[in-house]
Amino acid sequence: MAGIPRLQGRRLLAGGVSLARARSAFLLRHLVRFVISLAVLLVASFAMIHLIPGDPVRASLGQAAPIELIEARRAALGLDQPILTQLGTYVRNVLSGDFGTSFLSGEPVGDVISARLPNTLALALLATVVALLIAVPLGMWAGVRTENGRNRGTEATFTSATGTAIAVPEFLYAIVLVAVFAIGLGWFPPAGKGAPATYVLPILSLAIAPAAMIARISRVETLRELGSDYVRLARAKRLPAARIYIRHVLPNTLTATLTIGGLLLTGLIAGSVLVEYVFAWPGLGLRIVESITQKDYPVAQGVILVYGAIVLVVNLLVDVLLGVLDPTSAVKET
């Protein structure tokens, strides 16, 4: 992602045809990979139920369950069919939006997902935005202050502070924030989803560690751009410092920063499971924890499938976006 290779890539772009072909090959390759991964995910989520040692139906209903109920449930789940038939039915059902029925509540898993997914996505996306809004200016400021190794104190403080912030997992932030701001000070509600105030602590818990990570990237990117010739020329033009940083440096640091931000989004999705649990946030994460604890396999299966698919989609988007923004990475990658 260094400046010069990027420019060479752009030159290739001006060269035309070969790059266009390389780019469509690149897109195709990523699409194929995505579809294969999705298929593997589908088979894995199907296999999950069958990998459970013993009889999942008996395991979920308990040893005392009457044999008729167990047989009826097995038939309802299609577990008495040959395994390939079951796989075929499963794939067909999932593709038509039928994820089965909850053992416990009897509601369709598809309904559970469509009711809860928006809450999870809202949390993850808002946290990403907040993380970027905190991190990019912070990282730039640190980069400007520590250019060419000046202000070693700032650099040391920045590095250890971000290092510490990255190392603490989101659920610990959540617990501490609840203890301090909800229980201790009473500024925000400790749990639930409703008024805007209920969003503050969950989003903060999710955003702190990624923000520290992005701030580091942003600082390194800023330092690299500050050393470039176009900044030297902008300084030779005697532009005001703010203009140099915001108009000249910032746009060039965003490619890498946003890419990392996108990659962190997958981590945020996993982290949101724990944060939802702490804040009793009515998202998919809370539901999957309940379903695993209570052996509600159809729900667990459906939710894991959705989580996996989200991760795959985000990764695909990041890869493609990176390829579009930085053509050399698309051409070089095999």
Binding site: E147, Y230, Q301
Partner: protein
Amino acid sequence: MRQLLRTPAGLAGTILVALMVVVAIIGPPIWGVEAERINPSVILQGASDAHPLGTDNLGRDILARVMVAGRLSLLLALLTTLIGAVVGTVLGALPSVLPRRGARLVTGTVNALVAFPGLLLAMFTAVVTGLGAKGAVLGIGVAIAPSFARLTQTLAASVAGADYVSAARMLGVPRMRVMTRHVLPNIAEPLILNLTQALGSALLALAGMSFLGLGVQPPSFDWGRLLFEGFNRIYDSPAVALGPAVAVALAGIGFNLLGDALARAAARTTTPAKTAPAPVVARQEIEEPDPEAVLEVRDLTVTFPGGVTPVRGLSLTVAPGEIVGLVGESGSGKSLTASAIGGLVPYPGEVTTGRLRLCGADLDELAEHERRKLLGTSLAMVFQDPMASLNPALRVGGQLAEVATVHQGASREKAWDRAVDRLDHVHIPEPARRARQHPHELSGGMRQRVVIAMGLMGTPRLIIADEPTTALDVTVQRQILRLLRQVTAETGAATLFISHDIAVVGELCHRVVVMYAGRVVEELPVDQLVAGAAHPYTRALVASLPDMDTDRSQPLASIPGRQPAPAEVGAGCAFASRCELATDRCSTELPPLIPYGKAHQVACWEAQ
């Protein structure tokens, strides 16, 4: 190790991890009994003197339980990391020994899995194996594996290409043996580094699973499980939850800081301390300022910490309309001189001048905003690499126009029109269209024209062109040189043309200033360059140029030896060690720059 402890972060990380290991070892023997002692009279208490972190639902002391739980937390993390490392290393090393198709399959799988969050895999295994530490360890272990695999793959690929691996293969050594004997030992170090970080993230992920009630189950307990139990009571007694939370956080921080510090210690290359003494710059009496000169520099010295002075006592005068060539090898300080005149010397360099006047104004005496304006409009700079000089993210026209909006208060439309006009002036075809394009849509020569046009946005009195043609091919070079000459003639601006190429300088410039090791060694009119040069270095430079009469069967002439680095320059003439004429005096006594005929100065004891 010593390096590790030198930084505060490395020290803190080492201490935290060491503490954790100590707690894991001594925790169960010391606090084990208390952690299990059931006391119905004190159940579910908050923090008190007897129980700093309170008690649980059976009246057991939570502080003791935290101290005991450290061992299980660490052991599970170790086990998880071990699984991840073994599976990952094998997966990663496979492609370098497998046949092509198999290798691609493994690589593809690793790539698909590497960005998959561990917690999701752990939940998958938790469903399959049921609740408990086993599912969590397996799931997280497998989730860690791809990152090890990718690291191993990268490293192994570099080793597998090495000659000794090819040699082993040629000799018919079996694939497995190639891997264990030749590939793995050579990539062990970075893998171990990765282990530290993996250990930290495994510990945190396991704590997360236990906190959700999906990991360690009673009667066993790790920190995550204590957190799970404490969290339900956080409203009544926060200390019950915060105690285990702090333990997990400290462990996570410890491993992360240690991993960071290890990585940095591994990456650090030792730089020799430069302790050359600060040079004694003989301060000459400064004559009256020349009111006509566009640029007048007296006694310019650039110092870097450690007494390194790449430019020392340089004096230079440029008259209006004059093109002055500043020549020298790389490292002679010519580019730094240009930066110093433009006020662009990077930190921590320090610039001192006896006098620095631009367009008749003393830059040291001007107020900050006046200096900005003067430098921004009267001084134009052109750098070596036109590919890098323009901001890739901004339109060409905007980069020109901002000079006018910032310094001349022009409106956006006016500034844009002027930008298009300036692009036209430097012979860029279709300037209006080009202005709307981004730099990558322009060729190298065109970009250098754009940079020159940028300098013409103001009213340049001096153009400093720092190797403006070096990065361009020969035909484009000619065009840029022609443009520079034309611009100088039209605007009446002077040009300071910096180059290592004495042939180009001889062709373009009116006057030549030769630099060697941070000093001016000779200054002469261009027509005397070939026949009248007095300094042995200048003469050697001219002699090294091939011309039509050069005997092609002989090797090209070159100057033996190399230019001393700024820290190595001694008391005498810096060229003495390479000079055929050098005497004892040359290596001990610095020759001053003295007049030598008309408009000609030289700094040499032997130039008589």
